[in-house]
Each structure stands twice: as C-alpha cells, then as structure tokens.
C-alpha cells in the first residue's frame, strides 16, 4: 500500500491529540495539518481534479432486481404479451424511443424519454453475465466486484478504480448517499464517506401530518417495499483482512476532516431547478449541490430499494420508476443549468432483471439480463445492445439471455468517461460500447 501520510496521521491519533475535550472537536492546528497532509496526497489524484474539472460518475443502484422488460418494453412482441397477460404494457402505453426502434420506455419515465430525444440518454439492452445467479446477494456481489460469476473478490470495481488511480487521496473521492458503504467501494485502501440528505423516507406516521401516499390497508394492496435492497455486502469481504482498529482510526480521522468539507460544499452549491420531494429526489439534489459546491468527488453512489416485486407489481413498479425517473430528470436539468452536464455520467444498474413470465401473485420472480441507462452530456443517445428475444427457444430457463457483459459498460465508463485504463481494474479487456459521442 502506498499511502503517504497515513502512518503519520495515525501517529497523531495515537499520541493523544484527539479526543481530549468533552465536545470532541479537533484543535484547529491539527485540522490544518491534516488538511495539508490530504493536500499532499491529492497529488496522486488522476489529472489533478480541482472541483471545476474532472469527470464524475454517479451510480444509481436499483436494488431488488428491476423488471427490465417493463422498464424498456419490447413493441409488437407477442411473446411478451403472452408471458405478461396482466402486467404487460400495451404498445400505445409505452413511450417510444425514436421512430424505428422496437422498444419503448415505461410510461412513468417521461423525463428519461425526453432525455433520449435530446441526446443525453443511452439505453443498453440485455446487460448481464454468463451463468446468471438469481440470489440478490450473490448477484449484487458479482456486479459490485465485477468478477466472473464463479470467482470471489474482496475488492469492488469502484474500490479498485480508487486503488489504481489515487490510493492516497481523500476519502471523499467517493461519496455514498445513504447509510452504508456499497460493496463496490471495497478496496485495499478503502475510500468513500457517507453523506445523506434528510427528508422523508417512507411509510411512517408523518410528524408533519402528511398523509401516506398509500392509504390502503387491504392485504392485497401494494407491498410498499420488499426487503429494502440498498447496498449489500461488507467492505473488506468476509475474510476480515482489514484490521478493525486501523479501520476505526482512519474513519475517526475522516469524520474530522471530511464531513465538514462536504457540509460546506453542500451549502456553497445551489440547486437551479426544483426536485421531487422523494428521498431519492433529495439525494440527487444534494449530489448536484456538492458538484456545484466544488467537491473533488469522482464517484457518487446512491441506491433506491424496493424493486423486488414478487407480488402486486403494477402499481409498485410504476411508483418506483416514477420516483427514479423524476429525480434523475431533475438532476440532469440541474447539471445543465450549472454547466456541469458534460462532466457527469449517470449509470443505473440492478442485480438482475425478472423472469419473463409473470407469476400468480401479480408479480415477477428473480430473472437475469436487463437493460440499464447511461445519461449525461457526453453520452451519445441510442439503443445499444439487442432487445433480447422472448421466444421460448431463446430463453435460458425462463430468462432472457444477456448480450452485453456488464463489465463492457464499466469498461466504457472507465475509459471513455473517467479516462483510465479499464484492464487493470476489471482484470481483463472487455469490448467498449459506442455510448459516448
């Protein structure tokens, strides 16, 4: 590990300069010392990001397994209609992508359809990996670690990006909006801090008296949320290779130095457009303020849970997609007003899609390949990959087959957007996609 400063910083902690006051504040001189240590380490950050330049990746996880077939819907497909007698969307309901394409977006994604027309949204179809795993946890882990489905890794792909490009840099090079560091951030030299915008979560007696969105008490109503997905997995892998005390001491220091910096940036930055009042909307509004406020963060990570729609899918899925689409649309518009849209790529992903055939409880079970979105100023709009065939002979145990390896998407973002070599991070070469103009 090449971490200049860390040993020194730990010595600071050990020699007892911290923790000596009741209100637990760091003496200013120490803070300054640490800031300069961080500044020294910053030299390692790729291309010297100053907060005004340098590209940014925003990862949006749709946790629980998003139903790809009802997100990017095949048009005029009889197999789809047969497999989805109650859940299927009619051709006249979906938002067509372009004139001649045989696919359209779920009607709740109007904002994204507009982005597609404006040229800032690419849809990658049929993304997955060989021998798909249908466990939430294992499949999430595969996406997070970017390994083959039969291999394990204690580091995540974003963590390896940090390890390879800025091992000594500030922890805030990655920010997770939420309460747990995602497994994709696992690294030899862990980075990433958590910061979350306040605001209503869901389904609670609102102290503000706001009635709940879903007033139904009936058993067969929508399930508000399945097992809330979110970021799954542990930072160091289960092997416990990271010494817990080291990790704690490091985190203690990050609290001192980083949280204040982020809070300040979020005050400096201003939102230029209104955002939906949802939790996700609040998080995207915060990311936008942090970008505008000059944070040097390269990766933001946010997760929206609830996509595990085994039962009563129609309303639940529509609500989730609307929440997602509205938040992302506001975010893209805000970045445009800031002049930062060209610096940002937003990538969605979900651990798997869902079975082609709907189940008997008005839902769908765990499936395999699914589409994902790339959005941002540098993106070249279009439909990439192939809409998977739903004909019985083309299915794999009832699931659609993938035609784009998810690591091709990662490789494209790493090389074309973040400007780094993808092979050392992903272990080998993957074909790049024509997603950037």
């Amino acid at each position: 590990m090449n971490e200049p400063g860390l040993k020194t910083r730990r010595e600071f902690l050990r020699t007892g300069l911290l923790g000596s006051s009741l209100c637990w504040t760091v003496p200013t001189f120490l803070q300054n010392t640490m800031a300069s240590l961080h500044a020294a380490a910053d030299g390692q950050i790729v291309q010297g990001v100053t907060g005004k330049d340098g590209n940014i990746l925003v990862v949006l996880q749709l946790a629980g397994g998003n139903d790809g077939l009802n997100t990017v819907v095949p048009l005029g497909d009889d197999d789809y209609r047969r497999a989805r007698p109650t859940l299927g969307l009619r051709d006249d309901q979906v938002l067509k992508l372009g004139q001649k394409e045989k696919a359209g977006l779920h009607p709740a994604l109007a904002g994204l359809a507009k982005s597609y027309e404006e040229g800032t949204l690419a849809v990658i179809q049929g993304v997955g990996y060989p021998n798909p795993n249908r466990s939430h946890f294992r499949s999430t882990e595969i996406w997070a670690t970017a390994t083959d489905e039969n291999k394990a890794s204690s580091t995540g792909w974003i963590g390896r990006y940090f390890d390879n490009t800025c091992a000594g840099c500030d922890a805030a090079v990655g920010i997770t909006l939420g309460s747990q560091t995602p497994q994709a951030f696992s690294a030899k030299s862990p980075k990433g801090v958590l910061y979350e915008a306040g605001g209503s979560k869901r389904r609670r007696l609102g102290a503000d008296g706001e009635p709940e969105a879903d007033g139904s008490m009936a058993m067969d109503g929508d399930l508000e949320e399945g097992p809330a997905g979110g970021s799954i997995g542990d930072i160091a892998g289960s092997s416990g290779k990271i010494n817990a005390l080291d990790f704690l001491e490091r985190t203690e220091m990050d609290v001192q130095v980083t949280q204040k910096e982020i809070a300040a940036a979020s005050k400096r930055g201003k939102n230029g457009v209104p955002y939906p009042g949802s939790w996700l909307g609040n998080q995207f509004a915060l990311i936008s303020r942090l970008i505008a406020g000059g944070m040097k963060t390269r990766v933001y990570y946010v997760s929206q849970g609830g996509y595990d729609t085994h039962t009563g899918q129609t309303n639940a899925h529509e609500r989730l997609l609307r929440e997602m689409g509205d938040a992302v649309t506001a975010f893209l518009a805000d970045l445009k007003t800031q002049g930062n849209l060209g610096r940002v790529t937003l990538m969605t992903f979900s651990e798997f899609g869902r079975r082609v055939r709907e189940n008997a409880s008005g839902g769908t079970d765990h499936g395999a390949a699914a589409p994902l979105f790339l959005a941002g100023g540098g993106i070249q709009a279009g439909l990439l990959g192939k809409m998977p065939s739903l004909a019985a002979r083309d299915l794999d145990d009832g699931d659609v087959k993938f035609n784009v390896d998810f690591r091709s998407v990662y490789a494209t973002v790493l090389e074309k957007h973040l400007g780094v070599k993808a092979d050392p991070i992903l272990g080998r070469a993957f074909p790049l996609l024509q997603a950037y103009g």
Binding site: L13, R14, G16, G19, S20, S21, L22, C23, W24, R134, S135, H136, F137, R138, A171, S179, Q180, T181, V193, L194, Y195, G198, L205, A207, G209, P211, E212, G215, S216, M217, A218, M219, E224, E225, G226, P227, A228, G230, I232, G233, D234, I235, S238, G240, N243, A244, L245, L248, E249, T251, D254, Q259, H310, T311, N359, A360, S361, D365, H366, D397
Partner: protein, 542 residues
C-alpha cells in the same frame, strides 16, 4: 482438529470480561470477577441461566386488539358512507392503525432492550439477537407488531435448543410466511422466495444447492400458509388481525419432488430435514455463530473443529455455545479487539458498564436505528452485515455524540443531534398527537400552519423533558482514591470499559490527558476521562 478446551488455570478475570462482552452485552468488573471464580464451563453455563428465563410477559400494548371497538365498528360500516366520507374515515383509520403500530414497535424495542440489559437474561437475548439477524424479518413488510413479537418469543424459547426446531419454527412462523411470501404460495405457482433464502441464507450458503432444489422445495412448502381470525362482516387484513399458521392440504402440491438427489412426495418438514442433512449445513451455522461471537471468520482448522463440535452436540445450541465460549481458540490473541460491537451491543453495553438505566424506549430505539441497527427492521433478508460495516463516518460520529449524552446527560441541551423528538415522543405514546399533525396537509391553510408550528414547538419542548437522558452516576466510576491520581483513574476506568488486556501506553496517555492534572479530580474531569475512552476507536471493539 478438535477445539481445545481452555485450561481452568488460564481462566482469569480478563477472559471473563471478554466473555461477558461477547456472550452478552458486557457488564461490570464485579460481574467479571464473579465469573472468573467459577470454572470456565460453569461460567458459560451461568451466563445462559435456566430455561424458565425465556418466559416473560410481553409488553402490554402488544396484547391489546389492533383497533378499538369503536374503530372496528367504523370500519365495518365504511360501505354505508358516501364515497367522500368513506375515504376520509378510511384515511383516519389508516393513520390510527399506523400510530398504534409505531407505538407497539417502540414498546417492543424498549422491552427487548431491557431484557438485554438484565444480567440474568443478557446471554440468551444475545442469541435471540443473532437469530433476529439470521432469520431477518422486517416490520417494513410485516406490519403487525404482534407477529414480530411472536417470532421474537419463538426465538427466545428455542434459542438454546436444537437448530432444527428453530429452522422448522421459522418455516412456520407467520411473520416469515408474510415476509418471504410463503403465505401466498400456491401449487399452480409456487413462490420460491422462502425456499431460496432457506438454503442460501438460513441453512446452507450459496453454492450448496441447485435452482432445481429451490423450485422443488417451493412446491414442497405449498400448503404452509396463514389463516386470519375473521369476524363476520369484518375486513380481513394482516395488520390488525392476528393470522396464524395452518397446514392447508388443499393448497399443498403432494406430487413427487426431487430435492438434493432424493425423491418423494416431500412437504416442508421434509425439506428442512433434507437441508439440515447436507454436509454444508453444520459448516454454515457453526461458522456463522463463530463470526457473530468473535467478529472474524474462522480459519480452516478452527472451522473444522467447530463443525465437529456442532455434530458432537447434535445441533443443540446450548452445549455448542458453551463449548465454543470455553475453547482456547475463542481467546486467541488474534481475535482480541478485532470485533466491532453492534449498535445494540454498544448502547446496552455502555449503559451496563456505566451502571446507568437505558434511555427511554423511543430514544434508545432511535439511537440504535441511527447507528445502523433498527430492531425489527433489518435492511434485508440477509440481516445486518456486521463487522466493520457498522462503522462509517456518519455512524462513528453518532456513537461519539450519543456516548456524550449517556455519560454527561442531556440536561440543558436544546437539540439532540438531528433527532425529531416530538415525533419520537408521539410514536411512543408519551405525547398525544397534536391535532394539526393528524389533520393532514397544512400547506393550504395559513392559520392551521401557524397553529401546527406552535404546537409542534411546544411538543418538542415537552418531548425534550420526557426523553431526557440523566447523567451517568459517578460513584461506580471513580472513588476518592481514583480521584487523587489521573493514572489510577485511567487504569480503573480502562478495566471497567475496555475488557481484556490493558490498553497500550500511548492510549492511556490520551486518556490521562483528558483527566487533566488538578487533583483531586472533580466530576467534570472524571466525565471527560470516561468520555475520552468511550470516544475512542478501541471502545467500539469488544
């Protein structure tokens, strides 16, 4: 390789302190000394106590009907109302149900935390906490707190018995049947959710079963479902009535299945038996218990030893736990201070060590939730990941902040972190819901908005008093002798707060600095020293 028993000669008060922390929620030096006077096996036995300790009256609110008679009457007559009135009344009822559920959940959390903080029941409750994370079930989906209580009590009663009883218990548990959709599974379309997690998370681990095993097992579990106690003319729902487990043969797929290479017309009981017969089964649970209690994955040799121990004890938890807790490997120096306390363990343990009561249930529950462990609401069916995932910049800062409340009290503080005290007080039933809070959206009515703001402010003030945390009593923390000498105070407090080997000299220096040099040390100096320990990375480990 067998697990070596710790020789009685190696059993001392440091190890007893470690056991007290890991097997339970920590305790005082006096308790550690009492344990150290017993033989290791007896010490482990005494922590688990007698079986009757599993029996305890539930929190009162959980035993009440979910709706009052009047509310039931209204609900029965909803259809007689005009559509507009119907919607209004239905919304009122929904809010009443939600409010009652929140109150019950708060009661339930407070009740459970109290049991954890009680020395006699701590170790059993620690097993219950393990089971809650292992067979994770969340109120986010299972909205009826009575069902969560019943599951929790099932864990408590079976916590020290046989593993197969626990697995069977969860397969028939109403909350689990709702959480993983088993109750909705039908032969024409079996739901695979429970079968999958049964193998992947509960009994075997990934890679030890096939997709086909899951599909066939899902068929075997059909028929295990719920029935509602339905009164004539009443709407049926799982939120206010109490569904119970039934085996409904009409919904069971009795045809032949092939599971783990064996064929037969299996039912749910058979699936559990077949799963637990798999070689992976002992390995899975024995390894997971080791990780829970030591904070590290077992190395291969230890893992094999644990598997033999599990098999020798025929999957009985009590003798297995006692043997694990009294093995030499459990006290290996490699494991010392490498296990992060969970938020619940941190809170309960700190209160125990300080000799102070837990905060009010609403506040205690909110603290653990803010720290990442909301009881009865694990993040997903995998439960909490634990280990260093408990720690991040936000949670560590909050541990330090809450630590200062528990040491110094909250008297005179205008704000408690970012907590919405009025909401907490309302949720726990300490405060009546101020009228505007339940009257819906106030945005369009300026007068209502003002009234709302005023009532809210008043409620927050009241809540601050109702939920106030008292300062920790100082008598157990520092006697007259310790107040004479900062070094002595630090030694005394380290023994109390950091079980195991004494902390390294540089850390002791950090603590001594907090005490200052003016002797005799006054109350503020003692509190600062306690706080310096609580607000240090090493305190998060145990």
């Amino acid at each position: 390789m067998a697990m070596a028993a710790l020789p009685p000669s190696a059993w001392d008060k440091e190890k007893a302190g470690v056991l007290l922390q890991r097997a339970g929620f920590g305790g005082t030096p006096e308790e550690a000394e009492a344990l150290a006077r017993l033989q290791p096996w007896q010490a482990a036995d005494s922590l688990l106590g007698s079986p009757e300790l599993a029996q305890t009256p539930p929190p009162e609110s959980v035993t009440r009907p979910g709706l009052t008679e009047q509310q039931r009457l209204i609900r029965r007559r909803l259809n007689l109302l005009t559509p507009k009135d119907r919607e209004k009344k239905a919304n009122e009822l929904t809010r009443a149900v939600r409010a009652e559920q929140e109150k019950r959940l708060t009661d339930l959390r407070g009740w459970w935390l109290e049991r954890m903080a009680t020395p006699a029941t701590a170790a059993r409750e620690k097993v219950v906490l393990f089971l809650h994370g292992h067979f994770a079930t969340s109120e986010e989906k299972v909205r009826n707190p009575v069902l969560l209580y019943r599951q929790n009590q099932m864990f408590r009663e079976r916590a020290l018995g046989s593993w197969s009883d626990l697995v069977l218990g969860i397969a028939r548990d109403p909350a689990m049947l709702i959480y993983l959709d088993g109750a909705r599974s039908r032969p024409e379309h079996p739901n695979e959710n429970f079968a999958r997690e049964l193998f992947e998370l509960f009994t075997l681990g990934e890679g030890n079963y096939t997709e086909k095993d899951i599909q066939e097992s899902a068929r075997a579990f059909t028929g295990w479902t719920l029935r509602m106690t339905k009164k004539p003319g009443e709407a049926m729902d799982e939120e206010t009535t109490e569904p119970y487990f039934v085996n409904n043969p009409k919904w069971h797929d009795a045809k032949s299945k092939k599971i783990f290479g064996k064929s037969g017309s299996f039912d749910g009981e058979d699936v559990v038996r077949l799963a637990l017969e798999q070689p992976a089964a002992s390995r899975w649970i024995a390894g997971k218990l080791w990780r829970f209690y030591t904070g590290s994955s077992p190395d291969e040799e230890t893992h094999r030893g644990l598997v033999s121990l599990w098999q020798e004890n025929k999957g009985q938890l009590r003798p297995f736990l006692q043997a694990m807790w009294t093995s030499a490997q459990f006290y290996s120096p490699d494991l010392a201070r490498n296990r992060v306390k969970s938020p619940v363990e941190w809170l309960v343990g700190l209160c125990r060590q300080l000799g102070r009561p837990l905060p009010a249930p609403a506040l205690a529950a909110e603290m653990t939730a803010q720290l990442g462990q909301k009881l009865f609401a694990p993040p997903n069916v995998k439960g909490w990941d634990g280990g260093i995932t408990w720690i991040n910049t936000t949670s560590l800062e909050k541990r330090y902040e809450y630590g200062s409340w528990l040491v110094g009290g909250t008297l005179g503080m205008r704000r408690l972190g970012g907590m919405d005290l009025a909401r907490l007080a309302v949720q726990s039933g300490l405060l009546e819901v101020p009228a505007p809070m339940i009257e819906g959206n106030t945005a369009e009515n300026p007068d209502l908005k003002k009234e709302f703001a005023e009532k809210r402010k008043a409620a927050a003030g009241q809540a601050r008093e109702l939920l106030a945390v008292s300062p920790a009593p100082l008598a157990p923390l520092a006697g007259p002798e310790e107040r004479q000498d900062p070094g002595r105070l630090v030694t005394h407090l380290s023994t109390r707060l950091l079980p195991g080997e004494p902390p390294p000299p540089e850390l002791q220096a950090r603590y001594r600095k907090a005490a200052g040099k003016t002797t005799p040390l006054n109350d503020a100096a003692v509190r600062q020293t306690v706080l310096a320990i609580v607000q240090s990375p090493v305190y998060q480990l145990g």
